[in-house]
Symmetry: D2
Subunit: 148 residues, 4 copies
């Protein structure tokens, strides 16, 4: 199983008055992780041939993140459906390895011209399958997310 | 049951190159709805005595939202726990009544000095209870969210 | 002379870890003021017939702004050229009347189909003229901006 | 003369419905360039000992920037005063070398405890001087910014 990884240098404007990263910022990081993954899959990093629409996004905030502490966003695919797939993300503080947040996203393969969803092409399906986490691994990963 | 309602005038910078509102923007609107609700509950709109930390946020994107079309964010409480509570939000296009998105948030009562969660005070618990949606209403509301 | 005015409820996510509003947020408020002005001029609040492109934006941060303190953004036109015009903005803390920031923007009348600037139509020119601040008023206004 | 350089991968949420990067996004990139410069000067990348407050920010938008096209932000110091200094930034499309935007910022050395500005320490002044662009170079650089 491949894991797609990016690093994020949190920006000062991504903090809030509580002194930590705003909850909004995590959704920015998760979108960034997905667009970079889609780009790597050669399936449209440019707007012109963009085929994805977000159906749902979720983030569990496990520990606070801070400006000045680099993050690693690890992304896998947790489910591949007929016209959609599901991503899972782990946001980890790079220096300490501490789990900061867990994200999930449901992505629909979408034709912006017809404004309708379409079946995932086989080529994309095969590429996504490389990132597919097994149910067992996913359960284990969610166990790792429990704070002691 | 009370429903907390705010209206949102989507900003141009909250759109993205797909011509609709960015998925990130919805999380901004949901946070705005919650902070305005917390303010109304007189339980701390100012940073100094802020008692809430977001444990989880979710948004289902049901229909696309657009610049120039006002939104209404309706917020209720779906669960009141010992140290936390759950909010549910409906984002509705004001002119048409079309459901745009459904949000959920888990909010923990948090002491920033001790950096630990604390039991919800009784006064706050009573105020939150006024916004509490029954399980039956919630099921009905989620049914309404299904696209035909 | 007319002055275009909007009020802004700063959002929690628009603060930063210094406890005040992020400098980025002011540019969001200034854009919001301009799009609302353009909408009022009936010259295109929707993307389809959008005719404006920003050539330059500036903000002087006079006093810190904070979450929980409403702002008023007053906008005037400071210069009307052949294919462009200049806006000036004052951001004021509503409760105290304290000047928080002064903004400026150069806006070009732009045809997105041809990707070229065009002369301001006479109708728009006349509408903008209603908001035109005289040089004397502008000088006075900038004097008011000096901190003692 | 040293030039501080960072690269920016524009994020999808930093675009707007006009299909290009939102004008707001440039101010995010400029702040990022400054905080990374300040970090390199070892003068406080962390909130705890943050000594800078932005007095003014400006951006001239020379050409449109787009998602999928990496940017380089080059930063120099254009003036060193008693309690403040001025930065200039050039935002350049990496692949083509095309100038996208020119930024300016006035930064005040600020004591957040006393909430007052303070003279620049000699050590910081010396470090900033390494990035100081001469008046001649600055004039030349602004000439380069003219579109043919």
């Amino acid at each position: 199983m491949k894991t797609h990884t990016i690093t994020i240098n949190p920006r000062f404007c991504e903090t809030d008055a509580l002194g930590h990263l705003s909850n909004i910022s995590y959704f920015i990081y998760l979108e960034e992780a997905r667009t970079r993954l889609f780009d790597e899959l050669s399936c449209g990093g440019r707007t012109g041939d963009w085929h994805f629409i977000l159906a749902s996004a979720k983030c569990d905030f496990v520990n606070q993140g801070f400006f000045g502490r680099r993050l690693r966003v690890e992304t896998n695919v947790s489910r591949i459906g007929h016209k959609s797939f599901q991503c899972i993300h782990r946001i980890i503080e790079e220096e300490t390895g501490k789990l900061i947040a867990i994200g999930e996203a449901a992505v629909v393969y979408f034709n912006f011209h017809t404004q309708a969803s379409e079946p995932l092409p086989d080529g994309l399906r095969a590429l996504l399958a490389q990132y597919l986490v097994s149910a067992a691994e996913e359960a284990d990963s969610s166990l790792r997310c429990q704070k002691p």
